[in-house]
């Protein structure tokens, strides 16, 4: 097997006395969706933040294409092609789709000593990239605030892909979305994977994970409960692992199997 895009070895993260991560290992290959599941407070967000350079791990190693890395800032992680889409921090609602899409990477046009932002190019590319993701914008100058939650996620994903992400991390992209919008985001995750990009997909929802995942890792109280390949595990087993086994089984009985 080829070297994974990213390999995280025995990652530990302590916040004072709190051990948020107690030795988690995880890897993602190119063109693969690796789902990270776990209950609230399991450490999923903390884990991907060490991956994207927001937190420095207390212990453990991060390998990118087999080379050891030491991220000092999100910028470092971005430079090696790691893009993260955070649920609520993805977009600025008052700014246009174009301005959001190009934020931090604005295309420049020069007139002698003056350089301006090339809005013509920026608008055209934004429209095209959004269309690829199945969103027809009314106009690129439309404020992001007028988009639905799923559409905003999609703008963020399109942006990451356009700027050459090799590894795309999505932190609970579907948790606030309705059925149709979830389907659309999942379809876009699939589209991204088919371009050879590795995806880390965080979710609480086993069905969303099952819909797109190639591998599944379950975190519980800062430790992995193991990784399974698609087809090796049933949704019920995953669900049980996430909830820490027995408790949910009894709960499920009383709720008539609706959880």
């Amino acid at each position: 097997m080829s070297t994974p895009l990213i390999e995280m070895r025995d990652i530990e993260k302590h916040f004072g006395a709190v051990i948020a991560l107690g030795g988690v290992s995880f890897d993602v290959n190119a063109g693969e969706v690796h789902c990270l599941l776990g209950d609230n407070g399991a450490g999923k967000s903390t884990f991907i933040k060490t991956m994207s350079g927001v937190h420095k791990p207390s212990k453990g190693t991060i390998l990118i294409d087999g080379k050891e890395m030491n991220f000092k800032s999100p910028r470092d992680a971005m430079e090696v092609g790691i893009a993260t889409v955070y649920q609520d921090l993805a977009m600025i609602p008052l700014m246009s789709v174009t301005r959001n899409f190009w934020m931090g990477n604005e295309p420049i046009k020069k007139f002698g000593p003056f350089s301006t932002m090339d809005f013509k190019k920026a608008n055209e590319i934004t429209m095209v990239e959004m269309k690829k993701m199945g969103i027809n914008l009314r106009e690129p100058g439309q404020a992001v605030g007028t988009l639905s939650g799923g559409e905003r996620q999609t703008v963020a994903i399109a942006r990451a892909v356009y700027f050459g992400a090799k590894l795309l991390i999505l932190d609970e992209p579907t948790s606030a979305l309705g059925v149709r919008q979830t389907a659309n985001v999942l379809a876009n995750v699939d589209r991204v994977r088919s371009q050879g990009i590795g995806v880390v997909f965080i979710t609480h929802n086993v069905r969303h994970a099952m819909a797109v995942g190639d591998r599944f890792t379950v975190l519980n109280r800062g430790k992995t409960l193991g990784t399974a390949k698609r087809g090796e595990i049933t949704p019920e087993e995953l669900q049980d692992m996430m909830a820490g086994g027995q408790e949910l089984a009894t709960l499920e009985g009383s709720l008539g199997g609706t959880v």
Binding site: P74, P93, L94, G104, F119, T146, N184
Partner: protein, 365 residues
């Protein structure tokens, strides 16, 4: 995501959703109003026009700085005190210490921009609201200004700057008048009244365009261009809209904020220098309440107090409304205290309108 769900909004509504809307409407209203009640008072004679243009230009200069800073998500309440401070620095250095005026002006700029940087530095490093940090500087600078003035001259007004500026190369850039030839030509062609008595007989009543107005126009054009056309402008919006989101995509948030504090200080110093050159003196109480007047201009211009949205042209229109109303009340012989009543009222109306416009943009989410 389907086409039929995208409601076509009318061209009209789209044109409505812009920060300057309220200011454009307000400016038209204010002009119509004063044409009606003060049309024959000389307010719209060449001299009258010059009068309110200069007042509006003063407001506009500091409003440009305040608008960019507010869009970047911060306030500067020390602007008024800085105006007083810069003026006193220029007067002490040139009149008391006998420095050439150009050197005094340049020193004032350097010191004030450094103070702007200090404001920015403290806001960034402490994470405190700029409201508090710059409020502290409102007091510190005002106190320093009075103290400096008293200890060096035993007075709070320092005159004699005009004489000191005689023949200086930099002073006319702030206190001079341009296009004099053109205005003389207007007068010769009979399009402009001339003095009929006194030692300026034959000269036009309006000598030319004051440099103050040139500065205002230059700053408005530069500010609007920077904000809407450049990469840096996109960063200003991003930093004010959501600093964390901006930081995650690599926007140098702290640098943008710092530069905006420095630019605001720059505009305050331009204001101060032009004022000192016009009056020929500096006074320790100059610039009182200017920080709030600048903020009101910016808000009338459609900027949101929370940052991330606004317009330089809007702020300039806010300054125009300000100038026209202040001088208009004077021309129409109204009680000048009514100006403050007007200010308070228009401020509330502007904020309500802005909130409404923001809801239209963000679709109430």
């Amino acid at each position: 995501m389907t086409d039929e769900r995208i409601k076509q909004i009318s061209k009209f509504r789209r044109a409505m959703i812009r920060p300057e809307l309220g200011a454009i409407a307000g400016a038209i209203l204010v002009f119509v109003f004063f044409m009606m009640i003060a049309g024959d008072s000389g307010m719209f004679s060449p001299k009258g026009i010059q009068n309110w243009t200069v007042v509006s230009a003063q407001f506009a200069i500091i409003a440009v700085g305040a608008s960019l800073l507010m869009i970047a998500g911060e306030f500067d309440l020390s602007v008024g005190s800085m105006i007083g401070f810069a003026g006193i620095v220029i007067a002490i250095l040139s009149v008391q210490w006998g420095w050439p005026v150009w050197a005094a002006i340049m020193t004032a700029f350097v010191v004030c921009i450094a103070l702007g940087a200090l404001n920015g530095f403290l806001v960034i490093k402490t994470g405190l609201p700029s409201f508090i940090v710059t409020l502290a500087f409102l007091y510190i600078l005002r106190g320093m200004t009075i103290w400096l003035s008293i200890t060096t001259t035993q007075k709070t007004i320092i005159g004699g700057v005009k004489q000191a500026a005689e023949g200086d190369w930099l002073a006319p850039l702030f206190g001079g008048t341009v296009l004099k030839g053109l205005f003389q030509w207007f007068a010769d062609m009979g399009m402009l009244d001339t003095f009929t008595r006194g030692n300026r007989i034959g000269q036009p009543v309006v000598e030319g365009v004051p440099m103050l107005v040139v500065w205002a126009l230059g700053l408005i054009i530069f500010g609007q261009w920077l904000l809407t056309k450049t990469r840096f402008g996109n960063w200003i919006f991003a930093v004010g809209g959501d600093p964390q989101a901006a930081r995650y995509v690599g926007v140098p948030v702290n640098r943008v904020k710092m530069l905006m504090f420095m630019f605001t200080a720059f505009t305050a110093t331009v204001f101060a220098t032009a004022q000192v050159m016009e009056f020929g003196s500096a006074a320790a109480d100059r610039g009182l309440l200017k920080e709030f007047e600048a903020i009101i201009c910016v808000v009338i211009g459609g900027a949101l107090l929370t940052g991330g949205y606004g317009s330089v042209v809007g702020a300039a229109l806010g300054a125009l409304i300000f100038g026209v109303v202040q001088q208009g009340l004077f021309f129409s012989g109204a009680e000048s205290s009514l100006f403050r009543v007007f200010l308070g009222t228009i401020l509330i109306l502007a904020v309500i309108l802005n909130t409404y416009i923001r809801r239209m943009i963000t679709g109430e989410r």
